[in-house]
């Protein structure tokens, strides 16, 4: 049987569906062919390569999830700072450096830094601005001043917006000038860094709905899928549209049922706006949708039933670990423990060279696959700062979850930063799909360090990156 499917969406003219207009066979043929195309693009079945991966431009709406939503609550006050641009001194301070995984299809960022200012720290003295650096080239993509918004209760938000950015790993550096804040006694009072939000510049539509409400009493007309099917879809042969062949109720009913199944599959709501689902995520045992589904009957990029379903980029977690100076210096003096500079919030450094867990985070993972083995899409990026004479490439970093471990990654110097900025990507991290988990990063070095603070961890991010 040659299956009727359109290679591109044809649509149906408004004139062909007007009242008193005959219903031509070509109209039904076009609609059934379009529906088959929608099914194939949603599932990746029947050799369809133009699948939905949420990269925009007709490949699915970008997901638009925020990248950073971090509560920090640390003081930026400087204790007896040393000379300008020295370790533990004053100067241009990157108050919260971030490495983010910019997803394909998005090109904007809104950077919001919430601070409780004190002393002589004002927007005029601090002169806040933000830089975007591309990881692969070290190029500065943009550099913009930040405006101050009074949020009340002593909270100030510094914010700016970027556009025209590229996908991949980007470094986001919100920066203030600590030299211009007048010092008093031994402390330069700046204030507290409360939280940072980095998101895309999007609108907001309030409670948009589609179609009928769930109170409409209509028959659903959705066929229950077979045991190995994701959703019901009836294929119609092209031979059924031969010249002068009648359009029968079988075609129309099939078309209708295919659309209803797709509606529930794509929207995630009960088909035809009814009160109950026909589809369930279910592995045949236990309560529906409460177990890690072996068969996902919703468009969720799980690849549990459709092996060629599109895979998506999804941010999981992104944190800054502490402040860093823009000239590649530490915000504290290199002592253990430090006594000068930004003592409450500075990029920390690993002390032993043996395998050491550095950070833990509580997370939950979506139902993506594969979740184990050598080809998961879960990756971690780690941004590192160092003294220019440090041998950071002798370190190796790995990420672990309760499920397993990722590949080892070695830091590589970022171009144009005189050996003071390094990046490492950890790939193929194993995880438990559809479950809460925790993630850790650990570091180890071959041989002894070159000195205190050979490397400082500035930021980490965890994301699915197909």
């Amino acid at each position: 049987m040659t299956r009727k499917k359109n290679t591109t969406f044809q649509g149906i003219s408004v004139f062909d569906v007007d009242v008193d207009q005959p219903t031509f066979g070509r109209v039904v043929e076009a609609g059934i062919g379009d529906t088959a195309l929608i099914f194939d693009r949603a599932t990746g079945e029947n050799g369809e390569t133009s699948v939905i991966d949420h990269t925009g431009s007709g490949s699915g709406c970008p997901l638009g999830l925020p990248l950073v939503n971090q509560r920090i609550g640390r003081s930026l006050n400087l204790t007896t700072p040393a000379a300008k641009d020295a370790n533990g001194g004053t100067g241009l301070m990157i108050i919260a450096p971030y490495v983010i995984a910019m997803p394909p299809g998005e090109d904007t960022l809104v950077v919001e830094v919430f601070m409780s200012l004190e002393g002589n720290a004002t927007v005029d003295t601090l002169g806040p601005y933000c830089r975007i650096i591309e990881q692969s080239t070290g190029d500065e993509l943009d550099n913009r001043d930040m405006i101050a918004v009074d949020m009340g209760d002593g909270l100030t938000m510094f914010t700016t917006t970027f556009s025209g950015l590229t996908p991949g790993y980007l470094f986001v550096f919100p920066t203030i000038d600590t030299e211009r804040v007048a010092g008093g006694s031994s402390t330069v009072a700046i204030g507290a860094l409360e939280q940072v939000i980095i998101r895309h510049d999007l609108g907001m539509a309030l409670n948009p709905t589609i179609g009928q409400s769930e109170t409409t009493a209509l028959r659903i007309g959705v066929q229950t899928p077979g045991a190995t099917e994701g959703l019901f879809h009836r294929n119609i042969a092209t031979a059924m549209f031969a010249d002068e062949d009648a359009v029968d109720s079988y075609m129309l009913a099939s078309w209708n049922q295919n659309l209803n199944a797709l509606d529930e599959f794509i929207t995630g709501r009960p088909a035809a706006g009814g009160p109950t689902y026909v589809h369930v995520d279910h592995d045949g045992a236990g309560s529906p949708d409460t177990v890690d589904p072996a068969r996902s009957r919703f468009e969720a990029h799980t690849r549990s039933l459709y092996a060629n379903e599109g895979q998506v980029a999804l941010p999981i977690l992104c944190e800054s670990w502490g402040a860093w100076m823009d000239v590649g210096k530490f915000t504290v003096d290199l002592a253990e423990p430090p006594t000068l500079g930004c003592l409450e919030w500075y990029a920390p450094w690993q002390m032993p060279t043996t395998t050491t867990y550095l950070r833990s985070a509580k997370v939950i993972f979506p139902d993506f696959s594969p979740a184990t083995g050598a080809s998961t899409n879960l990756k971690m990026g780690v941004l590192i700062g160092s003294d220019s004479s440090a041998a950071v490439s002798n370190w190796a970093f790995r990420a672990t979850t309760d499920t397993g471990i990722g590949d080892a990654g070695t830091p590589v110097a970022v171009t144009g930063f005189s050996n003071t900025l390094w990046f490492v990507e950890i790939t193929n991290i194993e995880f438990t799909a559809d479950s809460e988990d925790l993630v850790r990063v650990r570091g180890a070095r071959s041989g002894a360090k070159t000195g205190i603070g050979e490397l400082a961890i500035l930021s980490w991010c965890l994301a699915f990156k197909p």
Binding site: I12, I38, G58, Q70, W349, M351
Partner: protein, 230 residues
């Protein structure tokens, strides 16, 4: 060609397809319109040169974006977080816990506070009652450990602050047992908070009436369901 939007999203009863049913115009209009709508919802693109038949999604864009029904099955992922470190001064110079709650007593509990925690929740559409949209209700998850290995319960309370009209506190128990980092058990479920699309300001307290010190190394707000909390 001006593509049909007529009958967009008007579903049809099965009676429209029984033998000898009249092939009225609304049948073909519905099928044509819904085909176009499903294409738009799937791809985020309009198939014709004219305007969209489907409305904007919560991000004011077109197409499904997995923000919960009817905009697609939602993904499970962390929404907001506070991060920390398990042990200071031994393996990492310069890191601290998210919150340390010192020992307290029943009459004088020690309370750790995280106030004015501003989060950004990606916009979402509410569901008809009694269903609750996935992103409307976020659950708290955490990691932590004790200064001595004795089973220890702490009371975790969380609420959203909503333009002066605060939501009610939700209080649950977290139980820690170990001096190494662990996920606490939650015998009566994890605490949750009801958030809005966009900014929500959250308050959180951890109350300790025991003789142990509780050190929290990670706190996160998690999106935990795919289509509805009910």
């Amino acid at each position: 060609m001006t593509q049909s939007k007529a009958g967009s999203y008007t579903f049809l009863p099965d009676s429209a397809f029984v033998a000898e049913a009249k092939a009225t115009a609304d049948v073909i209009q519905s099928l044509a319109g819904r085909t176009r709508c499903e294409y738009e919802l799937l791809t985020g693109a309009s198939p014709g040169a004219d305007t969209f038949a489907t409305p904007l999604n919560p991000d004011a864009r077109h197409g499904h974006n997995h923000r919960g029904p009817p905009w697609g099955s939602a993904f499970l992922h962390p929404v907001a977080w506070c991060g920390g470190k398990q042990v200071t001064n031994v393996d990492l110079q310069g890191e601290r816990q998210v919150m340390t709650v010192v020992a307290g007593t029943a009459t004088n509990p020690a309370v750790g506070r995280l106030m004015n925690w501003v989060i950004w929740c990606a916009p979402f559409a509410d569901l008809p009652a009694p269903r609750i949209a996935p992103y409307r209700k976020l659950y708290l998850g955490g990691l932590g450990y004790l200064d001595s290995a004795t089973t220890t319960d702490v009371a975790v309370r969380v609420r959203a602050r909503d333009f002066g009209e605060d939501t009610a506190w939700v209080e649950k128990t977290w139980t820690f047992t170990s001096t190494t980092e662990q996920v606490p058990t939650a015998p009566d479920g994890n605490p949750f908070v009801l958030v809005k699309p966009g900014y929500t300001c959250i308050d959180l307290t951890v109350s300790n009436q025991t003789a142990r010190e509780v050190r929290l190394t990670s706190i996160a707000l998690l999106q935990v369901v795919k289509r509805s909390h009910v």
